[in-house]
């Protein structure tokens, strides 16, 4: 079972010169969780995730505290928006290196990489390194499960 049979081919991506604000607009419009960032040749140079964008609004301090269950109201944090200077920065300020698999790679390899790197979606590239698709944990997981139907 290879990944290219189960991935989404219609991938939205963003060019490395775009701003954080433009990236956020694409997330909203396309309702997605991961956005590959590509260079002029459509080769992925990295990814921006929904989680990274949200960390601009819900800052790191939440991670300093072991439990937040005693916080019933985030008060002013609920209405705090990232400052304009952060939104006008290049999207490169949020880019993380992309963990990719090739079209011919197996589903279990892709799934194992996603577990290891705590990814919800994984970028698939063609042999020549171009962006070719994207697969979510649900895409890969259900594809693996579908093989169980053949078990007697």
């Amino acid at each position: 079972m290879i990944i290219s049979k189960h991935m989404k081919r219609n991938v939205v991506s963003i060019h490395a010169t775009a701003s954080v604000r433009e990236a956020a607009a694409i997330f909203v419009k396309k309702h997605i969780g991961l956005l590959p960032v590509v260079d002029d040749d459509d080769k992925p140079i990295g990814i921006v995730s929904l989680k990274d964008l949200l960390s601009l609004e819900l800052p790191d301090f939440v991670s300093f505290i072991a439990d937040v269950d005693f916080v019933h109201d985030f008060g002013a944090v609920e209405t705090t928006r990232p400052p304009a200077r952060v939104l006008d920065k290049s999207v490169k300020s949020l880019v993380k290196p992309a963990i990719t698999v090739e079209e011919e790679d197996g589903l279990l390899r892709a799934y194992a990489l996603m577990l290891q790197h705590d990814l919800h979606d994984i970028v698939v590239i063609s042999k020549n390194g171009r962006l070719s698709g994207i697969a979510s944990r649900v895409d890969i997981g259900t594809a693996i499960l579908s093989a169980w139907e053949e078990v007697d």
Binding site: P59, D60, F61, V62, F64, I65, A66, D67, V68, D69, F70, V71, H72, D73, F74, G75, A76, V77, E78, T79, T80, P83
Partner: protein, 429 residues
């Protein structure tokens, strides 16, 4: 005294201190290497031995530190520190000035009995959370917590590592600290708090965007293990009680601390590996290794040489000498680690004593200088470095220049108050 042995031991000791102060290599690594070099060279030159090195280690200081570290390591995961901060937030009803006084006071009281670093590590993140919920800058609270934890630590025998060292070297009891140090620290503390209230007047006058939200913080939910927290607190209070009377019962402070740690361990029976992981072994190793190096100096006859040198100085007016000591030690502690400074100065004060000066007040001068000096710069104490690092994750990072405008005045005022009170009450020492 063997001049060659003295020279070599001084070279090893000061070489290590310079490396420690340069912060190029971790201080514990330098201290271990330096102490071993001292023993090896000492053996080769016949002035030091393994037995003498082990004898030089002040195990009562290490035991006191270890006992307190174990208690804090057990208290930390119970959520008790968060509990106090949340209570403060609710009691303040979201008013920044009230929150400032409450968090400041909690930090001071905790750091009087517990390690400053732990206090700040646990209180600062909740402070940032509370400030964010209110929609105000956490900056005044964070800076104040670091400054007041340094200040509070000066008050007691167990509040600060330099105090533990001074207490052990000078034979001072917990009660001595309460009588001689606590009143001066109390006045300094009030002065510091109101000075900071003034310096941060602009930030503290901002209206919080959402004051009501803090009332929905639930303190009960911060306590992960209420029963464990209660047990450790009972043991801790018992330990503090014993600290108050340890000199009357002829019990060493280390027995109080280790006894309390043993009681808490038996009563709670936590995962010992988790507790041991939280103990700051690098600090204990650093202390132990420094003791070995100082022992080398002693055996090489350096301390006798210091006593001879000090004979001239012994005629200086002790009040003036003490005031100078406060400022010099404070200036040094503002830029470098106050533990090695304290360890290096202890033999000097002993030397002065043997040369005929009444050194009892000088121990207090050393404690005030080492404690208050750490407030002077952004790198003056570990607590300062921790709040600065945490603040870098917020929208208002603490900068060096801000510390110059807020921390440095606090250090100057604290040293001035300490100098004045020291001069006034010197005759009672």
């Amino acid at each position: 005294m063997n001049p060659a042995a003295a020279t070599v031991s001084i070279l090893i000791f000061f070489g290590s201190l310079i490396l420690i102060f340069s912060e190029k290599i971790n201080r514990s690594i330098v201290a271990i290497a330096g102490s071993m070099l001292m023993i090896i060279v000492g053996r080769a030159m016949n002035f030091y031995s393994e037995e003498a090195a082990i004898e030089a280690i002040d195990f009562s200081t290490l035991g006191l530190l270890l006992g307190m570290m174990i208690l804090v390591a057990m208290l930390e995961p119970t959520g008790f520190f968060e509990y106090l901060a949340v209570l403060a937030a609710r009691a303040s009803r979201g008013q920044p000035i009230r929150l400032f006084f409450l968090l400041g006071s909690i930090t001071t009281v905790l750091s009087m009995f517990l390690d400053n670093v732990t206090t700040v590590v646990l209180i600062a993140p909740v402070t940032i959370l509370i400030s964010e919920i209110l929609g105000i800058s956490p900056l005044p609270f964070l800076v104040t917590e670091a400054l007041l934890s340094n200040t509070g630590g000066v008050a007691t025998l167990v509040g600060d590592p330099p105090n533990v060292l001074i207490g052990s070297a000078a034979g001072l009891s917990f009660a001595d600290f309460l009588i001689y140090s606590m009143p001066i620290v109390a006045v300094t503390w009030v002065g510091t708090l109101f000075l900071l209230r003034y310096l941060f007047r602009k930030e503290l006058s901002r209206r919080p965007r959402n004051a009501k939200a803090v009332m929905r913080l639930n303190p009960a939910e911060t306590l992960n293990h209420p029963k464990t927290a209660r047990r450790i607190l009972i043991v801790l209070c018992g330990a503090i009680l014993f600290f108050f009377i340890h000199h009357l019962l002829h019990i060493e402070p280390f027995l109080v601390a280790m006894g309390a740690a043993a009681t808490a361990l038996i009563w709670v029976q936590p995962d010992i590996n988790e507790v041991v992981k939280k103990v700051e072994w690098s600090v204990l190793i650093f202390f132990g290794a420094l003791f070995v190096m100082v022992g080398g100096l002693e055996h090489a006859g350096v301390l006798e040489a210091i006593v001879d040198l000090m004979r001239g100085a012994a005629s200086i007016d002790p009040v003036l000498f003490g005031v100078i000591l406060i400022w010099v030690v404070a200036a040094l502690s503002a830029v470098v680690d106050n533990v090695p400074i304290t360890i290096a100065l202890i033999p000097v004060i002993h030397g002065l004593g043997e040369a005929g000066m009444d050194v009892r007040p000088l121990w207090w001068a050393l404690a005030f200088g080492a404690g208050f000096g750490g407030n002077g710069t952004i790198i003056g104490s570990t607590a300062n470095i921790i709040v600065t690092n945490l603040s870098e994750k917020t929208r208002t990072p603490i900068t060096s220049s801000l510390w110059m405008k807020r921390g440095l005045p606090v250090m100057l005022v604290a040293c001035a108050i300490a100098s004045i009170l020291y001069t006034i009450i010197y005759r009672w020492f």
